[in-house]
Subunit: 231 residues, 2 copies
């Protein structure tokens, strides 16, 4: 069997990323034929993510090119939206990539980088409306495709997203093989995974936690949206 | 609101662990009220897991006690089954824990440590039969509970497992809140997540990959099972 050509994947991280946003897709996309996967950030070195520390993180500036760019989300998105050097790195890598992708609130960073104008995109349900600030159309689907832009919904949607991307790049049979290998036959103990299906008390409780950082996030998203229009 | 008492969780890692086996549960169990989560290994320091490097890993010997022990799986299980010091650490921590748990082939390590005798347990489908070598009853369910032992099936089953554990410890509403926060309303693009539902060609392809290390794994599991009977 001929060796598959290398397929370069970059996860563009930032401090206080939600680790499952990229570890889920990483586990799956790493199994793409020829996959060369790099996790990178502005500073490189180490990234702390909700109690886990990832080391040997590359510097975004040191990466010349990738075939697939994936931007995860997390509470650190508020700060990352204001980091012009980070957004510039996203723009540069996206320009040469075959696929531009995100998971969870990572789509807000694609948006802030100006990469979602006129596109529909997914996002974590609690922050989805903010996509409109970047000229994108918020889409409640778990995985959204618009041209070469694939976006996933909140956190665990990254697994469905990654299998969809594997199917696109390497075909359905390869995606099914990966699904079988990671035994992805989900069976949640409750049906509370969406605001529409969660009990009202549960939704209220989660919303109350998010409300603490919500004004700041909206303000950051508005500033990032305005900066886009000035460019 | 009174501060919840600390609840100590230890993920007992080993080289060549499958990272999603513990990052999924980590993301979810970290949200338990009072959660103090530590990732640990025999050597401590760094653990490499399928291309990701986790640093600031504690040494198992330095951990006196935990409330919940969780053992993930991965290709490194074959070597870890033969690591008597690692298995001893599992036995010591399990003896003081309220909950003894595993994800994927981590149940083979619980088994090799003698912690599953007379218990039913889950495991990744491809290696599930090996549980019998340790006096355990293989159970095809995605999440299996037997007393204070909770085990999850392959890789992604760790998410269903972790939500089940959160419900047990903190109640259904807390588990539902975490499910909503991580937007766990799974929607796989295919139905290939189990050997029973995967197309035969897909099953054959994945089995062929596993076959490469299968004899070695069976041999290691047999030796570990025999060592148990000698003790």
């Amino acid at each position: 069997m001929p060796k598959p050509p290398p397929f370069h994947i970059v996860f563009a991280l930032f401090p206080d990323v939600t680790h499952l946003d990229f570890t889920g897709p990483h586990q799956i996309l790493s199994r793409l034929p020829g996959a060369r996967v790099v996790i990178a950030s502005q500073a490189g070195g180490e990234i702390e993510a909700e109690g886990l520390v990832f080391s040997r993180v590359a510097r975004l500036a040191d990466i010349e090119h990738c075939d697939l760019l994936c931007v995860p989300g997390g509470f650190g998105v508020t700060q990352a939206m204001a980091d012009e050097a980070y957004l510039k790195a996203l723009r540069r890598l996206a320009a040469g990539a075959r696929y531009v992708t995100s998971v969870c609130t990572g789509s807000l960073l694609l948006g802030a980088a100006g990469l979602l104008q006129g596109r529909k995109a997914a996002c974590h349900w609690a922050w989805r409306d903010q996509l409109a600030l970047f000229g994108a159309t918020p889409d409640p689907a778990r995985v959204v495709r618009d041209g070469n832009v694939f976006t996933g919904g909140g956190v665990t949607a990254g697994i469905d997203f990654a299998l969809t991307v594997v199917a696109e790049i390497a075909g359905a049979e390869t995606a099914q093989a990966v699904q079988l290998a990671v035994e992805y036959a989900p069976d949640p103990p409750f049906h509370a995974g969406r605001p529409e299906t969660a009990p009202p008390a549960v939704l209220e409780r989660v919303q109350a936690i998010y409300d603490r950082g919500m004004d700041e996030r909206w303000a950051a998203a508005r500033r990032a949206g305005e900066a886009l229009r000035v460019q």
